[in-house]
Amino acid sequence: AQTIHQWPVAEIKAVGSPLSLGCTIKGKSSPNLYWYWQATGGTLQQLFYSITVGQVESVVQLNLSASRPKDDQFILSTEKLLLSHSGFYLCAWSLGTGGGDTQYFGPGTRLLVL
């Protein structure tokens, strides 16, 4: 069975500090991977997606970047955090692109920027 793991579970960071969030998928080879951001009480906004190692497409940047160093790993990062980066970050995977693909979400990372 496939599992999706996100780390860390939660972070409290200072404005201007760097950030790195991670996501690992086990049990599926070559999944499509996605990063989402969710404000408290808000909707989900897709940030990035990747269909293969080394290839990342930006949907909405929000002064963040993403990388896919391995087939099963997706990283979200920034060099300087803003207050507006606070929220819930979710990683998701799917089997393939195109209409009809179901996306499965991880447990999320809660980020508070002070």
Partner: protein, 111 residues
């Protein structure tokens, strides 16, 4: 511009009733509509989904009714249980894995 719109931010129904959550969209290119259920502090979980070629999809107590001409759909939850209390997101998928979410409807079931 909100491309996927959920008509209610919150909805309260009594246990045993049918909860109806409404969603509308603007882009005719949208062709796949999943509904996700999210509990506080957790990631969303797929509940049920429908393709635009169908007008109804049923899975246990959950049914999606889809009207392509009117560009709207609804999620019906029969025999609502307190454990169904959660936030429900309507979403639309049209190209290259791009998924657009509605604002969510917070459903409360009164025992």
């Amino acid at each position: 511009q909100q491309q996927v719109r959920q008509s209610s931010q919150s909805l309260t129904v009594w246990e045993g009733e049918t909860a109806i959550l409404n969603c509308s969209y603007e882009n005719s290119a949208f062709d796949y509509f999943p509904w996700y259920q999210q509990f506080p502090g957790e990631g969303p979980a797929l509940l049920i989904a429908i393709r635009s070629v169908s007008d109804k999809k049923e899975d246990g107590r959950f049914t999606i009714f889809f009207n392509k001409r009117e560009k709207n759909l609804s999620l019906h939850i029969k025999d609502s249980q307190p454990g169904d209390s959660a936030t429900y997101f309507c979403a639309a998928n049209y190209n290259q894995g791009k998924l657009i979410f509605g604002q969510g409807t917070k459903l409360s079931i009164k025992p």
